[in-house]
C-alpha cells in the first residue's frame, strides 16, 4: 500500500511525518538535529531511503547530513563549499562591490537518476554538485560568470534557492536566485545564460530589458512538460512556455501577486498553487485569511482554497521551499508556515487538515510518495 513521508525543515530542527495513502493520521519523528536550522531536506527519487539534509547555525556553520534508511539514522557528510578560483565580488545593498562569502546551503536537489549525485544551492549564490553522495562538493562556476558582479542580495540573503532538473534532458538545469533571476544550462552546468525576458521589476531595476537582478522567489515545473515553467516572483506570478525564453504574467485575479512558494499538481500540469502574501513589507496573508490559490488553467484564473485553513487573525508566512505535492491520486498538497503549522490537503486543495500545529518556524516541506 502506498504511503507518504513529509520532510519538514524548521528553524530549530527537522521533523518527519508519515501516513498511509488516506493521509488522515500521522506519525511524527523529531526533532532531528534539535536546535539547528534545517533549511531543506530532500529524498532521492531513485532511492527514497536516501535523504539529504542541510543543517546549519550561525554559531557553528554548515553541515550536510545524509540518511540511507529513510531518516531513522543520519551521517554527517562533507561540508566544505569552496568557490572555484578567486570568488570575486557581487553587488552589495549600497551598490558597492562585496566579496563572495559562503553562508549556508538553502536547497538540496538529488539527481533524478543517480542517488550519489546531488546539487546544492547556496548563499552567497552558487551551485555546487556532489557525485559521491555528499562527501565532497564542487562548484559549477560557469553560473557566476553570468554577470555575477551585478547580482545583489534580497532581504533574505543572496541565495540560490531553486534547482529544477529536466527529466527529459539530463544536460538541462534551471536555477533561480534572489536577487539575480532565473538561469538555464543546456550542457550539464558548464555554461549558463539568464532566462529573464518578460519579467518586470520596475522599482528594483533600472531598465525593463535587464538581464539579471530580478528577485525570483520560486519556480516549478511538471515533469511531463519540462519546457513549461511557473514562477512566483517578488511581485507577479509568471509563466513560460518555452523553457524560460520568454515569460508572461498570469497573476490574473489573485488578491496579491506577492508571495514565495509555487507548486504544480502531480497529475494536472495546468493546475498550479500559490499562497498570496499581502506585500513586500507585510509578509502575511491579505485580510488575515490564510488562502491557497489554485489555478486549473495554468494561471490567469484563480480560486481561493480555504476549507480547513484559518480565515481570521492569521498572520503567518509560507516560505519559498515550504510547499510540495505528493504523487498519490488524488494529489496531496502540503505547506508549512512561519507560525509552525503544517497543513495537508489529500484532495488537491479542496479540504485542508493540520498535521502539525506548534512546530518551530517552518523553512521547507518536501513529500516522498512511497510504494
Amino acid at each position: 500500500m502506498s504511503s507518504v513521508r513529509v520532510l519538514v525543515g524548521t528553524r530549530k530542527g527537522a521533523f518527519i511525518f508519515t501516513s498511509d495513502a488516506k493521509r488522515q493520521t500521522w506519525d511524527v519523528s523529531g526533532p532531528l538535529f534539535p536546535g539547528w536550522e534545517i533549511y531543506h531536506l530532500k529524498g532521492s527519487p531513485v532511492n527514497p531511503d536516501r535523504i539529504y539534509a542541510s543543517q546549519s547555525t550561525g554559531w557553528f556553520g554548515q553541515l550536510i547530513q545524509r540518511s540511507d534508511d529513510g531518516g531513522r539514522t543520519w551521517t554527517p557528510m562533507g561540508n566544505e563549499f569552496r568557490y572555484e578560483g578567486t570568488p570575486g565580488t557581487h553587488q552589495w545593498y549600497d551598490g558597492t562591490q562585496h566579496p563572495w562569502e559562503f553562508k549556508r546551503v538553502w536547497h538540496l536537489e538529488p539527481s533524478l537518476t543517480d542517488p550519489d549525485t546531488v546539487y546544492a544551492g547556496v548563499e552567497d549564490a552558487a551551485l555546487f554538485k556532489s557525485t559521491d553522495g555528499g562527501q565532497t562538493w564542487r562548484e559549477l562556476p560557469g553560473l557566476r560568470e553570468v554577470k555575477g558582479n551585478l547580482w545583489q542580495p534580497g532581504a533574505g540573503g543572496m541565495c540560490l534557492h531553486t534547482i529544477l532538473l529536466d527529466p527529459s534532458n539530463p544536460d538541462r538545469i534551471f536555477v533561480a536566485i534572489s536577487a539575480a533571476g532565473a538561469f538555464r544550462t543546456d550542457d550539464g552546468g558548464q555554461t549558463w545564460r539568464p532566462i529573464n525576458q518578460g519579467l518586470k521589476s520596475p522599482y528594483e531595476l533600472p531598465g525593463p530589458a535587464a538581464e539579471v537582478g530580478h528577485c525570483v522567489h520560486g519556480m516549478a515545473m511538471h515533469p511531463s512538460r519540462p519546457g513549461v515553467l511557473f514562477m512566483q516572483k517578488h511581485w507577479d506570478v509568471m509563466r513560460s512556455d518555452d523553457a524560460g525564453e520568454m515569460w508572461r504574467e498570469v497573476s490574473g485575479n489573485l488578491p496579491s501577486d506577492f508571495g514565495f512558494p509555487i507548486a504544480v499538481h502531480a497529475h494536472e500540469p495546468e493546475t498550479i498553487y500559490v499562497v498570496p502574501i499581502k506585500s513586500d513589507s507585510e509578509h502575511f496573508p491579505p485580510e488575515g485569511k490564510l488562502r491557497v490559490y489554485r489555478s486549473r488553467t495554468g494561471g490567469g484564473a484563480w480560486e481561493a482554497l480555504t476549507n480547513g485553513l484559518p480565515q481570521r487573525d492569521c498572520y503567518v508566512n509560507v516560505l519559498r521551499d515550504a510547499m510540495a505535492v505528493d504523487a498519490l491520486d488524488p494529489c496531496g498538497v502540503y505547506f508549512g508556515t512561519t507560525g509552525g503549522q503544517v497543513y495537508c490537503s489529500p484532495d488537491g486543495g479542496d479540504h485542508w487538515t493540520t498535521i502539525a500545529r506548534d512546530l518551530p518556524s517552518v523553512y521547507s516541506v518536501e513529500v516522498q510518495t512511497l510504494a
Binding site: 550561525g58 554559531w59 557553528f60 556553520g61 566544505e80
Partner: protein, 98 residues
C-alpha cells in the same frame, strides 16, 4: 593531556561528553589544539573555524584560565595549566540571539 570542553551542539555532533582529552605534541596553542581536535573528530571541521581561511567563526569564543583567548593570535602559547591538563581549553558558543 589537554582537556577541551565543547559546547553542547558540538558534543552531540562529535558523539562525545563534555570534556575531550587530546594529546598535542607541538607547542600548545589554540591552533595546535584545534588541529588535534579536528584530526580526532573530522566532523568538527568547519564548525569552529572556517575550513578555508582557518579563521574562528564569529560566534565561537575560546576561554582558558579565566581569560578570553578569542582574539589572541592562533599561535600564541597557552598557559602552563592548560598544557598540564589542570585547566581546560573551552570552546564556547557566544551569546547571541536565537
Amino acid at each position: 593531556m589537554i582537556i577541551v570542553i565543547l559546547p553542547q551542539h558540538l558534543r552531540t555532533l562529535a558523539g562525545v561528553g563534555r570534556e575531550v582529552e587530546l594529546r598535542v605534541e607541538a607547542l600548545v596553542t589554540p591552533r595546535a589544539i584545534l588541529d588535534a581536535l579536528e584530526a580526532r573528530y573530522p566532523v568538527l571541521r568547519g564548525t569552529i573555524r572556517d575550513q578555508g581561511s582557518q579563521q574562528r567563526r564569529a560566534f565561537v569564543r575560546f576561554f582558558a584560565c579565566g581569560q578570553d583567548w578569542s582574539h589572541e593570535p592562533p599561535d600564541a602559547p597557552l598557559p602552563d595549566d592548560v598544557v598540564q591538563g589542570k585547566e581546560p581549553f573551552m570552546v564556547v558558543g557566544a551569546m547571541a540571539g536565537g
